[in-house]
Amino acid sequence: MQSNNGYYGEFGGSYIPEILYSSQQQILHAFEEAKNDPAFIAELKDTWQNYSGRPTPLTFCKNLTDHFGGAQIYLKREDLNQSGAHKMNNVIGQALLVKRMGKKRVIAETGAGQHGVATALIAARLGLECTIYMGAKDVKRQYPNVFWMKQLGATVVPVAEGAQTLRDALDEALRDWSSSHEDSHYLIGTTCGCAPFPEMVAFFQSVIGEEVKEQSMAQFGQYPDRLYACVGGGSNACGLFLPFLEEKNVEMVGVEAGGKGLELGQHSIRLSNGLGQKGIAQGFATMFLQDDNGQLQETHSIAAGLDYVGVSPIIAHLAQEGRIQMTYAMDDEVVAACALLLKKEGIIPALESSHALAGAFKDAANLPKESRIVINLSGRGDKDIFNVAKAMNDATFPEFLEDYLADYNTDNQGEA
């Protein structure tokens, strides 16, 4: 979606410290040139295909469809990307841009760790130095991803400031960039931040919706009736939705994290129920969860990747315009949706993506049998094994962990 000088309605813009002005302008120009350069686009497509495995399938879910007895349910399988999530689409694009700008180092923020791993992967492949900022709380929740980032050669910096989640990681990445901008690129993982990041990330993610257009025509001869995506920062939602923006018959539903309840601090709902308010922070204007004094507030979601205080200015604008309907799913509904997909279709979804599932499952039975919905399965759930086991009260898991730990310590002592 083309911005109006960095704005989407009243959201977006570029509110950054003066020190970042030149680097921001450099990205703005480099991106404008690159997206109009056939050689860049060809390299992008080649890397998407041969490194990340695109196009990802559009999978019809017969069992789920029969289960609900309403709309025909399809999944867009972003979980099958290299790295296991849609994050790869964007990091490939930006990393190729980094090479084009001649920079040697990338900085990234990460919540669940999916963007961090994706960035570390592409950095390893393209020979870029890589520093990942991650909230200390998220480091604990998602250590397996941290482990892989480190093995990939990235430096992972736990951020112990504030609430120690994604928002604090983003602040810290901006601070790093303020002093390292001459040789480093801030590889933002979502459609947030100062212009042109929302537009650029949406551009790279739009491959999702573009493929769905082709695949839906090939599989059932028309576009889907409704699209569902979870909304954290908003990149997978932008990716699926934006190519359909002009198709007025295609309805779009964004699903935010309802967390444990609607009190401030218990959820990450910024765009429904009047819970978020307009603000300007972290480089851009959008709807933030904040108090009356303009202080950004803590958020919660069972899915670290949705645990964010702001939201894409593109999604905020389209929600305000009524083009996207916003809803939310609570933690327990999300775990139930995850469990249902496992049992019915043999697919392990990320908890982030399970929000989109939960949102769609609520509607599916009430939609006409001939209607078709596409849910963006933005990531796979292997990374969530610990959190899902806990949420499902799996009795054997603690035992496994204790045994594993005992073995781990014994083996390591043996080697020492």
Binding site: G13, S14, Y15, I16, P17, E18, I19, Y21, S22, E161, G162, R167, D168, D171, L174, R175, D176, S178, S179, S180, H181, E182, D183, Q277, G279, I280, A281, Q282, G283, F288, Q290, D291, D292, N293, G294, Q295, L296, Q297
Partner: protein, 261 residues
């Protein structure tokens, strides 16, 4: 002429360089922070730069970030109360001036037009918002013009030459020159190669009609002395806060006196 620029010009008749000391409002408590400001003013500080804390201060380094988070941890801070408090401080110390620094969001939520009006009422003549670039500040500039308040623009060693010339020419009360790349305080991050501070300040002086303040990384007397004849105001923030954290007002005052007296 800007009231702030006039104040600086008059004071500079007697002093080779003026001091601007930075204090986080509400840290560790509102009362403590106001006491500390008063102490600095008694010791002869020419300006207090009062930072109204924000939860996400992206242009600040660890020392000031920790103070902002500390200030917000167990108390609600209101912009209105802050303006009243520092307005009173200004009346108690009429020989000095107060500038308000914060990030955009708390000010935006309070209302930018109301903010500027209230600043004028409280004689807070300068407004520093590091995440509000000139281009995005059309509204704020109009309110400031109408009320005799100066928005303070920042320039940095990596600001492109034409932009630097433009921002310098737009400066009114004073121009805030960031001495180096990075965030406030001692930075772990290494900046790239930069022109010398002298060349940078010479270039700014060429374009600026307003007084020049220099901040970021000033910790020793030598840093302050090096600015004499090239700048009007030395801005001291993180170093002062480090000293205050180490030994309270006494240690902070020792640093202030060693730099300016």
């Amino acid at each position: 002429m800007s009231q702030l620029a006039q104040y600086i010009a008059e004071k500079r008749q007697q002093k080779p360089i003026l001091s601007m000391t930075h204090v986080v409002y509400g840290y560790p408590t509102v009362k403590d922070s106001l006491d500390w400001m008063a102490t600095l003013l008694e010791a002869g500080a020419d300006f207090i730069e009062v930072q109204f804390p924000f939860s996400d201060p992206v242009a600040d380094g660890p020392t000031i970030v920790a103070a902002c988070h500390g200030a917000l941890h167990d108390q609600q801070l209101s912009v209105e109360q802050c303006l009243k408090d520092i307005g009173q401080l200004g009346r108690d110390f009429p020989q000095a001036r107060i500038a308000l620094m914060s990030y955009l969001n708390p000010m935006y939520r309070y209302g930018l037009e109301k903010l500027v009006k209230r600043c004028a009422e409280e004689n807070i003549l300068g407004l520093i918002l590091p995440d509000l670039p000139y281009e995005q500040a059309a509204d704020l500039r109009a309110y400031c013009d109408a009320n005799g308040i100066d928005p303070v623009w920042l320039v940095t060693p990596v600001t492109p030459k034409d932009r630097l010339a433009f921002l310098a020419s737009e400066a009114r009360g004073f121009l805030y020159c960031v001495a180096r790349s990075g965030v406030t305080g001692n930075s772990n991050h290494n900046g790239g190669p930069q022109q010398s501070l002298d060349e940078y300040l010479a270039e700014i002086n060429e374009h600026s009609n307003a007084p020049i303040g220099v901040g970021f990384g000033i910790r020793e007397k030598a840093h302050v002395d090096a600015l004499k004849g090239k700048a009007d105001v030395a801005i001291i923030g993180s170093a002062l806060l480090d000293a205050y954290n180490k030994g309270g007002k006494e240690e902070g005052l020792k640093l202030f006196n060693s730099l300016f007296n």
